[in-house]
Symmetry: C2
Amino acid sequence: MKIVILGAGNVATHLAWAFKEIGHEIVQIYSRTQASAEALAMQLDTDFCTSTAQLRQADMYIYALSDNALESIIHQVNFTSGIHVHTAGSVNINIFEKKSGKYGVFYPLQTFSKEKEVNFSEVPVFVEGNNSEVTETLFELAKNITNKPFIANSDKRIRLHIAAVFACNFTNYFYSIASEILESQSIPFDILQPLILETATKIKTLHPYDAQTGPARRNDTATMQKHLEMIENEDLKKLYANLSLMIAKRYM
Amino acid sequence: MKIVILGAGNVATHLAWAFKEIGHEIVQIYSRTQASAEALAMQLDTDFCTSTAQLRQADMYIYALSDNALESIIHQVNFTSGIHVHTAGSVNINIFEKKSGKYGVFYPLQTFSKEKEVNFSEVPVFVEGNNSEVTETLFELAKNITNKPFIANSDKRIRLHIAAVFACNFTNYFYSIASEILESQSIPFDILQPLILETATKIKTLHPYDAQTGPARRNDTATMQKHLEMIENEDLKKLYANLSLMIAKRYM
C-alpha cells in the first residue's frame, strides 16, 4: 500500500516506521514545519512536503496531527483518491463528513516518544470506517502491524482515551513528581524502578481495586499527616490530600 | 537467625517468606487477631501468639505493623534480648528510643499484596540502626534477601515513602479509575496492559519529564474539554482538570 503520513510527531513517526517495516511504501511526509517533515522523511528515505497542495497520490492518507490542527488540514485536502484516516482518540469520525469518499480512524492505544522504540505487535489499535469496506481495509491494515486489532466507534474510542489519560499520562506525571522528591534528596530515581514495575505488573493478576496498598488504603492518618507536613509545594500538598481522601473513602 | 514477626499483614507475610526461604528460622508470629496470626503461622509451619507477653526469645523482632498500632505494641514489649526493628517508611527510628537495647528499621520499598508473589532480590531495602553494629547487622540481613540493600536515615526514608505513594499508590488508584471507565463500557481492563507496561518501562531510558505525552502535555485544550464534558463524576472531573493544568503549566 502507498501511504502518505500527515504529521511528523511522535505518533506519525512510530506509525510510519511500523508500516514501512512490514513492507508498505511511505511515499511522502507532510508537515507545516519543514524541519520536522524533512527529518522524518530522511529517516524513512522518502519525500516530504510542507503544503497540502503538494500531496501525492496514495492509497491511504494518515493524519497523525494534533487535534487542534486536524480540522483545518482536512479542510484543505482533496479527497478524490485513497482512504483518509486520523489517529486521534478523542476526535469523532464525523470530522471528515463534509468530504465525500472513504475515511475513518486508526487509533493506536499507546504512549509514543520519538526517542523510545515500541513493540508495535502488542499495541491495541482501534479502527472505524465510514462504511464496512473501509472498516475492513483498516482492520486488515491494523492486523498487519499488531496482534491486537479492534473495531470501535467514536464514543467507545473517546472513553478509551480518557482511561488512557489516567492510566498513562497522569501516571507518568506522578513518576515525575516522585523523581523530583528523590532528586531533591540526591537519591537516584531508578531506586523506584522495581516498585513502579511491580505496580504495573501486579494488576495482570489482581484487579487494581484489590492491588491497592499504601497509607490511604489503610486509612493510616498518622502517616498521611506526616507526609502532608513534609510536602512543601502547595499544589502537591492539595493533590496528596485530595487523592488520599478519594482512596480512603473507596475502602471504607 | 531466629526471627519473631509481629504482624500478619502484607509486609509481614512477604518478609517472613523471604527470610524463611534463605534459611532463617521464623520462630513465632504475633498478631492481636488470632485468625491472622494462625493463618500466617500455619503457612510458615511455625507458632503464633496473640499477646506480647507470650513472645519467644529471638535474635530479631520485626514489627511489620500499621503505623497506628506500632507505638502501643513497642511499649508492651520487653527489649532485653534481640534487635527490634520496624518496617515503616514514615516512622522515625526514635519511636524506639525510650527502650534501651538494640533497635532499628528495615524498610522494603515495594507494594505487597498477600495474593501476589514478589521477587525479593530486586526489592530495595533501606536499613537504619541505633548504633553502627546494629546497622551493620541489618545491612547484612538485607543483603541476604536483596541485591539492593541501602543505609538511610529516617528523614531520607520518609521522602522515599512519599515518592512511593505518588509512584505506586496514587498510580494504582488511577489504574482503578481507568478500569471503571472501561468496565462501564464493557471494555475489558486488560486492553490497557500494554500501555501501562510501556509507561512504566519507558522511564528506564527516558526521564519522566521527557516521557510525558497526552493532551495536557500538548496543551490540547479541545481534547481536554471533550474529556471533561464526558466525565460525569464530579470528583474525577475536578481531578482531571487539576492534573491537566499542573502538567500543562510545567511544559509552557
